[in-house]
Symmetry: C2
């Protein structure tokens, strides 16, 4: 009971912001004595701190406010993608305190070698937490894959060429060897699902209840928020939108079929149209954002091949996106990954095709992600932090009152 | 408080079935005296009746059971489709007590003329209620359209050639002229959404929380249940799946675009491939089920043109359905409308294409609707009954105790 009341007050402070104990009591329905005691315990656990003195306001007497602290708490998100691995640490206020991306040609490596690289990165993130005096409370792996979250297994990741890889066990084992058994939970989820959760929690359209997130990388991923909840499907395999058969007899896809949407709008399709194979923008060992910056620069310079490639991808993006908008009728469609990096040029042809194909009046708004390639790892870190919001007693009392 | 407790007991009896007052008390957490009094009131309102005497059982003493009655309560569903209008009356146990379908070439008529025909049918349904001593508690119109449920307006129905038709006002006005102002609520909703609700409430896979419903008529409609709740979208315009652009440069669609899925799997596509325009199976003034029975008979006889047409439609059905299964990862996909009527022949080519294109292992189960063309009107009648399940005091006390 006390545990769930601690969680209630902590979430309320995160969602509603800094306020007085009196106001918390009114808003949560708890009595003032209970709130005072709960807040004291949350302060002792380093999750809440005293804030400013507030005068006036519509509810309760003016008084000392309290606010979410959580500088001492770290949620870790680690993303494995085709061209890179990323690690991010967020504190409890969703502030980024650590971020590192490493270019990695994952398709050319074994799963074990990739997990070694992921472990190196995770160890660096944990060392940074230790340096900053932060307690890690959870780690979430984001993978472009069908994921069995319950068993921590990647069932199928066509673009990584992985089938049945036990990533949670593999990472936990490696971390245990290096640092001792982790005292926090490690889990895995689909990258686009985590990115949608990240957008919903801290993106430019955070809190929009009906939100579709689309990301362009080697593959195309989708994550869907419906009325504020992530669409997961009966077995957790929802949002597989990269393989919509939109181009009969088209190019061969990583999944073995022809004409999938991914073959029209994935990064490989863009690069094939925009550059020759020996062009450095096609080199997966170079940093992806730098490669995209080069492409964007060529577009700025008016390079016809680059502009035409982007225009074709944009139209195909609108074509497929129209299906999702017609099916989900979202309030906003957020474009992430390289769709956001090249959004300045992709958006016009994309919107033109989308608007021509959406049945409902007032097609939904289309936004470029402000989280970029970090959306999935941010979402993962955010999910890791949820453990503490569900049970604040996971964090030890640090200061005896 | 008493009202919500009445609703709690009534819903419990509907969902859990006949049981003793003692068991209801245990299962709802209400005390026995309260349950007795609530049951007495529900009996007085004609919503519950005494059942058998039950011996043994795991909970509570054996005793007199009570069960949902509701023979005196009628929910009315009226469907407007391209080729027909239908009215159905369900009692509170979802039993059909009235059903009538009238062939109608809606595209050839004005909206006013269609509403006149709908009113005739609704009046017949209401007369039947009166004959049976039933109180109508609500009427729901099902329309293949983008619907603004709040204002009762059909925003856009491409296959009816309707834009901004105030159907609820139009029907209410006509009913008022004929019978006096209706004492029950009249509303409108998308037909496929109502059919999905009907399948979820009383179809062959009732209660399956993640269920996608697909119906083949002139258009193709979709309704999606996610975790037991209907997907509506930000503006109520979700589930528009007929216009997925799957056949670039293909046939012209009712929506004005080319190559929509509907042009590949709608009834018109099937008929165009299976028959000449002067063939009676193409005559919209004849009953649709009879026309489909003729086609089915030709398939039984091995008619090559019919079989080839069905095989092509089946493959195209699987192609588009794979998108929905990949996006939603449902537990079950229910095929309704003419997809169910011709399911015996459509299913094999459909499943072959679907299974080749679904990414997740164990593609979801595909079932033929047992509600057929009545799914939407049944769903509408069911929704109309919900008003009483939310507030049993809407029904007057009939017998003084």
């Amino acid at each position: 009971m006390r545990r769930s009341n601690l969680a209630l007050v902590l979430r309320h402070l995160r969602d509603a912001g800094s306020r007085s104990r009196a106001r918390i009591a009114v808003e949560t329905g708890l009595n003032r004595g209970t709130v005072s005691s709960l807040v004291t315990e949350l302060i002792d656990r380093g999750l809440v701190r005293e804030g400013d003195v507030q005068r006036g306001g519509s509810v309760g007497r003016p008084g000392q406010t309290v606010e979410l602290d959580g500088r001492g708490i770290g949620g870790i998100g680690v993303e494995i993608n085709v061209d890179y691995v990323t690690a991010i640490v967020l504190d409890l206020t969703n502030t980024v305190v650590f971020e590192q991306r490493v270019a990695l040609d994952v398709q050319a490596l074994t799963a074990d070698a990739v997990l070694d690289a992921v472990t190196d990165l995770a160890v660096r993130a944990l060392a940074d937490c230790a340096d900053k005096g932060m307690t890690p409370v959870g780690m979430t792996l984001a993978v472009p894959a069908l994921v069995d979250a319950d068993t921590g297994v990647v069932a199928f990741a066509p673009n990584l060429h992985w089938r049945r890889v036990a990533v949670v066990a593999g990472l936990t084992e490696r971390l245990t060897e290096r640092l001792g058994r982790p005292a926090f939970g490690v889990r895995v989820d689909n990258d686009a699902n985590l990115a949608a959760l990240g957008e919903y929690a801290m993106g430019g359209r955070a809190g929009t209840p009906d939100l579709v997130y689309l990301t362009g990388e080697t593959g195309v991923g989708g994550g869907v928020m419906i009325d504020g909840r992530l669409l997961r499907g009966a077995e957790g395999f929802s949002g597989e939108i990269g393989h919509m058969p939109l181009n009969p007899g088209g190019d061969l896809c990583g999944c073995g079929r022809r004409g999938c949407w991914e073959t029209m709008v994935g990064l490989a399709a863009l690069l094939r149209m925009a550059a020759t194979p020996d062009d450095p923008v096609c080199d997966p060992s170079l940093d992806l954002e730098q490669r995209l910056a080069v492409l964007s620069g060529r577009a700025d310079d008016g390079d016809p091949r680059t502009l035409e490639a982007i225009a074709l991808v944009g139209a195909a993006l609108g074509l497929g996106a129209s299906i999702l908008v017609n099916v989900f009728n979202p309030r906003v469609l957020v474009l992430g990954g390289y769709f956001a990096s090249l959004g300045q040029y992709l958006l016009a042809p994309m919107l033109s095709e989308l608007r021509a194909r959406v049945i409902a009046p007032d097609a939904c708004q289309v936004d470029l992600s402000t989280l970029g390639f970090a959306a999935a790892s941010r979402g993962g870190a955010h999910v890791a932090l949820e453990a503490v919001l569900d049970d604040p007693t996971l964090v030890a009392v640090r200061h005896l009152a």
